[in-house]
Amino acid sequence: MTAVVPISWYLVLAAILFSTGVASFLIKRNLITVFMSIELMLNAVNLTFVAFAHMWHQVSGQIFVFFVMVVAAAESAVGLAIIIAIFRTRQTLNVDQVNLLKL
């Protein structure tokens, strides 16, 4: 009944999710979707934290997941406000047309 799952399976699952987040960060053209792919990458990292915390029987990793969640919440609040401000001035959400910082 107590089936043993190798800890590396969890890490490979996290790697799959992280690289999917990287790929969607690169190919998505919508600012909001790019932001959501950052959240996906943070979630993948959280999974590795929890897996390692389980492996070493320490709860410190879970504390760090808690902090990652808090920082992600703050980051998404500020980022979405920035997106709203950009949309007000440029009337677009396309990352190709937001090139104010380009030389």
Binding site: V4, L11, S19, S24, L26, I27
Partner: protein, 168 residues
């Protein structure tokens, strides 16, 4: 049972991530991201992190994704138009993402022997709550970072209010 939980919800998470990558409408992407986060919450719970599973459901799929969907609705974001995409994404991006995945999987699988396996049965059958452990560590050793996060949240709220305000 734990193996079945991992297989089912891991496959669900991967399917949600792939669907997130393939969908063109932001609302569809947000909903598939909610699927990913919910299945990750189940995986956290199976790894013995009950508090984080609850926090994942409440904070991520409750608060953050609601914020995302709210902004999508507010800005009336439609389907992204079909562009060719940047050439750099195709030349460097996809091989880069594949290389990251291959590197991480190679390291994890070759080190699998020394990493060991997760003995999952004990946590679920004995129903040990780790909330007391987490709170002890959080409010004793990590008290200063915990207080600093409250300042961070406060600054983020103020910054969001200032940034999203209408210019007069």
């Amino acid at each position: 049972m734990q193996l079945a939980l991992f297989l089912i919800f891991g496959a669900l998470a991967v399917a949600g991530a792939i669907n997130f990558l393939l969908q063109r409408h932001p609302v569809n992407s947000a909903l598939s991201l909610v699927v990913v986060m919910m299945s990750l919450a189940v995986l956290f719970w199976s790894l013995g992190a009950e508090f984080l599973a609850a926090a994942q459901v409440i904070v991520y799929s409750g608060a953050i994704m609601v914020l995302f969907v709210f902004v999508i609705m507010l800005l009336n974001a439609g389907e992204e138009e079909r562009t060719h995409g940047s050439r750099a994404a195709y030349i460097a991006g996809f091989p880069g993402a594949a290389a990251i995945f291959c590197l991480l999987s190679f390291v994890f699988l070759t080190e699998g022997k020394s990493l060991g396996a997760a003995q999952l049965g004990g946590y679920l059958s004995h129903a040990v709550s780790n909330i007391s452990q987490v709170s002890t560590l959080l409010f004793r050793d990590f008290l200063l970072p915990f207080e600093v996060t409250s300042v961070l949240i406060l600054v983020a709220i103020l910054g969001a209010v200032v940034l999203a305000r209408k210019e007069q």
